[in-house]
Amino acid sequence: MDAANLKSINFKRCLVPCIKILVVDSDLKCLQILSKMLSSLGYDVDTASKASEALSIFEERKNELDLLLVEVDLPDMEIGEFTEKIRESSDMPYCLMTADSNVFSKSRIVCYGAQLYFRKPIMIHDLTGLWKLTTQMKNKYKRLSSEIAKRLRAQQQKPEKKTLGTTAKNKCVNGN
């Protein structure tokens, strides 16, 4: 197989299709890099460079978005206020990011309700698991788990039926 062809196969793609992420960062360069990283992983990406812009996109398209990735240092709003507004109108998960290494050396990080806290510069492999945080995935897990639980319960009830079956089997064998 051609080395060049192998390179074009993306082994890191998002495992769940149609996950939409809104990235918020006033640094346009970061927005571009993150956008590119996320779309190469298979995510749908939307961007905003200000808190106000992000909030209006959020209000408009709450039902389509799955996750927010937000830079802590936004020019027009404190992160505490921004995340509070998100929490007020939905239970959409969000992740925060910062270039400030001091934040991570403290023994307690104020997370503002975030699922994850990233330190910049963000590496592409940091982003591969974001799909697991979405409500979509949590709902799928819930459905799967309840389905599995149902089937386990069903299996545990079978032994009574089995006894009857065995008797019937013996009859057949004897009959032969």
Partner: protein
């Protein structure tokens, strides 16, 4: 023939940028994001960086002219600048930013000014090297054409 020569030159220049510590793995990450859809991705990002960061460096310059120095303000601006520089893998620039912030915290005015000068040297040197690098890259042409099966 010419193209192969350009490509070798390009590879050598790229390697020296890493060997001399101007760039780190973050730059490689950017290179990996470059593809047919965005064939000049790295150059675009670097251009954006130099454009955005010029207002930060001007701000630093102005703030350093005051007496006494506003260390908090300097630290805040430098923090932004450092973050921006690290996102393109500007290793030496980043190191100077760290030094600068140490001087800020120590309230060392002389140290701050010297460190800033040094940082600007690295910053401009990297810009020149990257400009040359991207020019070479454009001359060398896209990598894939040599390997694309007919």
């Amino acid at each position: 023939m010419d193209r192969n020569h350009s490509r070798r030159q390009l590879a050598a220049m790229r390697q020296s940028l890493f060997d001399q510590g101007h760039l780190d793995e973050q730059f490689i990450q950017l290179e990996e994001l470059q593809d047919d859809a965005n064939p000049n991705f790295v150059e675009e990002i670097v251009t954006l960086y130099y454009r955005d960061s010029s207002r930060l460096t001007s701000s630093l310059e102005q703030t350093l002219e005051r007496n006494p120095l506003d260390y908090n303000k300097l630290d805040t601006i430098m923090h932004q600048f450092k973050g921006s520089s690290s996102s393109i893998g500007a290793k030496k620039v980043k190191a100077e930013c760290t030094m600068f912030r140490e001087y800020c915290r120590a309230g060392n005015a002389e140290g701050c000014r010297k460190s800033f000068q040094q940082m600007m040297k690295e910053y401009s040197a990297l810009r020149k090297k990257l400009e040359t690098y991207f020019q070479l890259a454009r001359q060398a042409g896209p990598k894939e054409t040599a390997f694309r099966p007919k």
